[in-house]
């Protein structure tokens, strides 16, 4: 009996394992990007832009997209594997620390936004007993159980197909009630509304810069941000088609905005859609916290198992604040995070390029 054939070399086996982990990380990033974009679009852009929300979101994502492409180009020219490496080469350990710190700050802000949206979806939207703080503690308890090394990234990778199927069902539900009239007026609430929407949403493209923080370079393809971006735009287009713009313009509360996205669905699909929101926000929260911990520890090269848990608890404590005030502050930070990350990346790339020259 023959039991042998081609023997895989240790390098090949290692490459297989690395590929698996990379795919898991990529799906985690994609989920984070989708949730971050959709959350911002639904809660900040849609009430201001109305019928124009879907294309306004696309416009708001362009700065982040352009920065990503410039970053890719810069990394290719500087031949560095990632932004932190580039910063380390050009500016030393402090430079790498600053870039990673900025990314960690952005991820932490995103996590706070996500947990706020998750809890408010229940307290103000779906309607449930329990305060913001107790629900935040319950969510954090579950999160601590889920934050288990590489498990979260693998879990997101495992769940990507069920989540996409659920999203497909929700989009079909939205499309079934779609009316072309709802896309008009194309300019939504007018120029002032569009400008306000752009100011509120222009910072959300920061998530596109996250792949630049991780090696290796060959993963940083020009079309990397397009799948999550495309998915979000399609979802928003379906939402715009399904919801009358008058309804969109009158929403201001966070919970109402989130629930509005599912309000016009048939009862069962609505339930599925809320469940999808809940799971996506929860997994995105976990991803944000674990990636934030990863960025904080990246310059040191150490692994601290308890750090994501501590960060999750820290994120949960923000729910003790006044939610409306917190939400306003988080909105104001969006643009600055993109600017800070963009400047950090630009300085690192320029310095690295000059040094190489």
């Amino acid at each position: 009996m023959r039991t042998t054939s081609t023997v895989h070399s240790p390098e090949e086996r290692l490459a297989q394992r690395e590929l698996g982990e990379r795919l898991a990380l990529r799906s985690q990033w994609r989920l984070l990007a989708c949730v971050s974009i959709l959350r911002t679009a639904v809660t900040r852009i849609m009430p201001l832009a109305g019928a124009a929300a879907w294309w306004m979101t696309l416009v708001c994502l362009l700065p982040g997209l352009v920065l990503y492409w410039l970053g890719c180009l810069g990394l290719r020219i500087s031949k560095a594997a990632s932004l932190p490496e580039c910063a380390r080469l050009a500016l030393g350990k402090v430079g790498a620390g600053v870039v990673c710190g900025l990314a960690a700050a952005a991820l932490a802000v995103d996590a706070v936004s996500t947990i706020t949206a998750l809890i408010t979806l229940f307290t103000e939207g779906v309607g449930t007993q329990g305060t913001q703080w107790t629900l935040a503690l319950a969510a954090t308890g579950l999160l601590l159980f889920a934050l288990n090394g590489e498990a979260l990234a693998r879990g997101v990778y495992f769940l990507r197909v069920p989540l996409l199927v659920l999203l497909g069902a929700v989009l079909v539900g939205l499309a079934s009630g779609a009316k072309l009239d709802h896309l008009f007026p194309v300019l939504g609430g007018g120029a002032s509304g569009l400008w306000a929407a752009f100011q509120a949403g222009a910072g959300m493209g920061w998530v596109f810069l996250l792949p630049l923080l991780q090696a290796p370079t060959r993963e940083k393809r020009w079309h990397e941000p397009l799948p999550p971006m495309g998915l979000c735009i399609v979802a928003l287009l379906c939402l715009n088609l399904a919801l009358p713009h008058e309804l969109l313009a009158n929403q201001s509360a966070l919970g109402d905005c989130l629930v509005l996205t599912v309000a016009h669905l048939p009862a069962f699909v609505r339930l599925v859609a809320v469940c999808l929101w809940v799971v996506a926000l929860f997994l995105s929260l976990g991803s944000g916290v674990s990636l934030c911990a990863g960025q904080l520890l990246a310059p040191t090269g150490r692994k601290i198992a308890w750090l994501p848990g501590v960060l999750a608890l820290a994120v949960a404590t923000t729910q003790l604040m006044d939610i409306r005030w917190l939400w306003t502050q988080l909105g104001a930070m969006g643009m600055w995070l993109l600017v800070a990350l963009g400047v950090g990346a630009g300085v690192s790339l320029l310095a690295c390029g000059r040094k190489r020259k």
Binding site: M1, R2, T3, T4, S5, T6, V7, H8, P10, R13, Q16, R17, L19, G20, E21, L23, A24, F122, V126, L142, F145, A146, N148, G149, E150, A151, L152, R154, G155, V156, Y157, F158, L159, A267, F268, R270, L271, V274, C275, V278, V279, F282, L283, G286
Partner: protein, 494 residues
């Protein structure tokens, strides 16, 4: 204490008599005789050796050489005289006693500073019978029994290759139990194999009475609900594990063997899947997965939908639930918990009572008790359907341990559904999947090859056509990923 066997027979006899407690241990037998003009004795445990073999191959040849002259050493002369295939000389009393209690006949003679151990074991054993818990429609109907040697033989009868290695070991300090670590030399991942050996070597217990106990001593995460090793009583399944590069542990006294590492999704596979055509195998596998999901989620979903999300139910169904609920004294969550507890009670009672009575018990409990409870308006008729379907689902799970895990998980999901509704269940599902993806079996990711993704045999969710399964299942780093090269259906040029 000096443990080396003495050349003086009297001294050896004294030591053995004392250490075997022969004055009270009546089945520790000694037979004295003369051979080559010297006194000798053979020790054995009555019932563990074959009396015929003892008489024909040890005692009779020795008695034929009672007054024969020695031309070579006594040890060599005895080995030439006694025609037993497995004969071995040992030099210490401990080894000799170990051989005796393991069922060998041990011969000591005057002037020989060693003892000769002859393997003439023969004891009462169960015959090869169909497996009790892993029935199949297509495929062989033979299962392992409790004899280590028989079980190894069953495996060797399937895998005719010298690459099938069986390393014998003992486990347990006070009462050592024999076990055999089996693997296919050119398929196994060396790291995994070493890990198994290290774990076995690191076990410090007085005795291991069952293979289930060994499983608990070997698994990665003992607090996890899910099994991380696979127990099978089918030689063909064990052989397929070996072919995939897994390690199989055969233990004396256990009618199952332990395979590791395993992955979660492979616990849903059965030998039927491979024996049947791929379309049928795929269909059955999907049914099994559906059954598992029903077991885990259906009661919780029912409670969550009826209690928290009635708007999601069709009006006719909701009306039926509300109408019958009005006549029932308990709330839906309490009823569901009660029904599931009743099901588990019936199941446990049915398992413990003898076969025929067990069947009757199931019928009586399931039909009569259920019907009586509905007529007495103690429970909801719809709930009986829900609990029955979820229970049927648990029986469709091929691995018993996994079925148990799902039955416990069912109660956890029910609690989540009762407290937080569908949102709680969905969140719990996500967390459970994440935890599952973080688990390992012998260091290999438990949710592999799906998460993390690996190059693997495509036979995971669906039963992929057999001739396209050119790769081994990915677990660890198998020495060779490819089972075969080129077309499996070599004659097919399409």
């Amino acid at each position: 204490m000096q443990d080396g066997i003495s050349a003086l027979l009297e001294q050896s006899l004294n030591v053995l008599e004392e250490r075997l407690f022969r004055d009270v241990n009546t089945d520790m037998t000694r037979r004295d005789f003369r051979v080559f003009r010297r006194e000798a004795a053979v020790y054995f445990v009555d019932g563990l050796v074959s009396s015929d073999f003892l008489q024909h191959y040890i005692l009779t040849p020795c008695q034929e050489h009672t007054d024969a002259q020695l031309t070579v050493s006594l040890e060599d002369a005895l080995l030439q005289t006694i025609h037993v295939g497995d004969a071995k000389a040992v030099n210490t009393y401990a080894e000799a006693i170990d051989a005796i209690v393991n069922g060998k006949a041990v011969l000591v003679a005057d002037g020989m500073p060693a003892a000769l151990c002859f393997d003439i074991r023969f004891f009462v054993r169960r015959g090869i019978a169909p497996p009790l818990t892993e029935s199949v429609v297509n495929g062989p109907h033979q299962g392992f029994n409790e004899a280590l040697r028989d079980n190894i033989t069953l495996l060797r009868r399937i895998l005719h290759t010298p690459e099938l290695i069986g390393e014998m070991q003992t486990i347990g300090e006070a009462s050592p139990t024999n076990l055999c670590v089996m693997y296919l030399k050119n398929a196994v991942d060396e790291q995994m194999l070493q890990r198994v050996k290290n774990r076995l070597a690191g076990i410090r217990v007085d005795q291991v009475l069952s293979i289930g106990a060994l499983e608990q001593l070997l698994e990665d995460k003992p607090f996890s609900l899910l099994p991380q090793c696979c127990l099978t009583e089918r030689p063909d399944r064990a052989a397929s594990f070996l072919l995939e590069g897994q390690v199989v542990i055969v233990m004396d006294g256990a009618p199952q063997v332990l395979a590791m590492p395993i992955s979660f999704l492979h616990l849903f596979h059965t030998p039927d899947d491979t024996s049947m055509r791929w379309q049928y195998g795929t269909f059955l596998r999907l049914i099994r997965l559906l059954g598992a999901l029903c077991t885990l989620l259906l009661p919780g979903l029912f409670v969550a939908a009826a209690t928290f999300h009635p708007e999601a139910l069709p009006v006719t169904l909701l009306t039926a639930i509300l109408e019958s609920q009005a006549q029932v004294p308990l709330s839906i969550p309490a009823e569901t918990f009660l029904m599931l507890l009743m099901f588990n009670l019936i199941n446990e009672a049915g398992t413990r009572v003898p076969g025929v009575v067990g069947n009757s018990l199931g019928t009586v409990s399931g039909l009569i008790l259920g019907q009586a409870a509905v007529e007495a308006k103690l429970i909801h008729p719809l709930l009986i359907i829900v609990v029955a379907v979820s229970s049927l689902g648990s029986y469709a799970i091929p691995d018993y341990s996994l079925g148990m895990a799902f039955r416990i998980g069912q109660l956890i999901f029910l609690a989540a559904g009762c407290i937080f509704g569908l949102y709680g269940m969905v969140l719990l599902s996500a967390v459970m999947v994440v935890r599952l993806c973080g688990m390992t079996s012998l260091g290999a990711p438990f949710a592999a090859p799906v998460a993390p993704v690996r190059t693997h045999n495509p036979d995971v969710f669906l039963r992929y056509p057999l001739w396209r399964q050119r790769l081994r299942m990915w677990l660890g780093n198998p020495f060779s990923m490819e089972r075969t090269r080129g077309r499996m259906r070599g004659w097919d040029r399409r």
